[in-house]
Amino acid sequence: MQFTPEFEVMEQPSAKVHRKKTMFIHNPVSPVFIADAIAKHAANTAIGAHQIFLGQIRADKIDEQIVEAIEFSAYEDMADEAYADFRETLFKNYELTCMHVYHSLGRVNTGGINLFVFVSSVHRKAATAACAELVEWIKCKAPIWGKEILTGDQVQWKVNN
C-alpha cells in the first residue's frame, strides 16, 4: 500500500506532525546562538533577570593523557519527557517567565560549549534558584552520557560527581 506524502502526514498522530520539542542540538552551542537567544528576550519587558549557565569542555589531564573532546549521547525521548515534567515543577515552585535548555549531542571539542541553560524571571532570585536546580538536574537526572576522547584516541567514560 502506498500513501501520498500528504496522506501519510494526515495519518500521523498530531504530536508527530509537529517538530518535537527537544533539548538536544547536534553541534556545540555557539556564542552567536546565545546572543540571539538573549536578544529575543528584549521584547519581553516583564523580565528583570536572566540567569545563564554554560558548560564548557575542559582539557582535563588524566594520567599523561589530555581530554581533547567529549562525545555526548542520550536517551533523547526519556530526557525530553523527564525535562518537560521537571520544567513544570520549576514553573510551579518559582515565579519564572522563561526557561530554555540546550544540550549538545555528538563531539564537542575542548573550549566548546555543550550546555546552555537560560532561565528568566521578573525578580532575580527565582531565576537564580531555578537555574541552579536545573543544572543539577541535567547533571544528575538526565539520561545523557559523555565519552571523553583523550590524546591518541583513547576513550574514558565521563563520571559526574
Binding site: F72, Y75, I144, V159
Partner: protein, 77 residues
C-alpha cells in the same frame, strides 16, 4: 517473552550495539538477572532500568510492547 532492550553509553559501546533482545523475560528482576549472565559489563557498571521512559526501582511485570532500556550512570552537562 522476548524483550528488546535499549543500551546506552558504555553498555552500547562494549556490546557494540544499541539494542539487544533478551528471551524468557517476565519482569524487571528476571531481566536484571539475565543481563548479569549476558555480558560482564553489567557486573562492572551500576545500571538502572527504564520502562516506557521512566526509571524503575521496584520490580514490575514487563510486556512485549514496553520500551525497556538499561542505562549506566548519567554524565551529561
Amino acid at each position: 517473552m522476548n524483550i528488546k532492550v535499549k543500551l546506552f553509553g558504555v553498555l552500547a559501546d562494549e556490546l557494540q550495539r544499541q539494542e539487544v533482545t533478551m528471551n524468557n523475560i517476565s519482569d524487571v528482576r528476571s531481566l536484571e538477572k539475565q543481563l548479569l549472565d549476558f555480558h560482564p559489563v553489567f557486573n562492572r557498571v551500576h545500571c538502572r532500568i527504564a520502562v516506557n521512559r521512566k526509571l524503575v526501582t521496584d520490580n514490575m511485570v514487563l510486556h512485549s510492547s514496553d520500551e525497556v532500556a538499561v542505562m549506566p550512570p548519567f554524565s551529561g552537562g
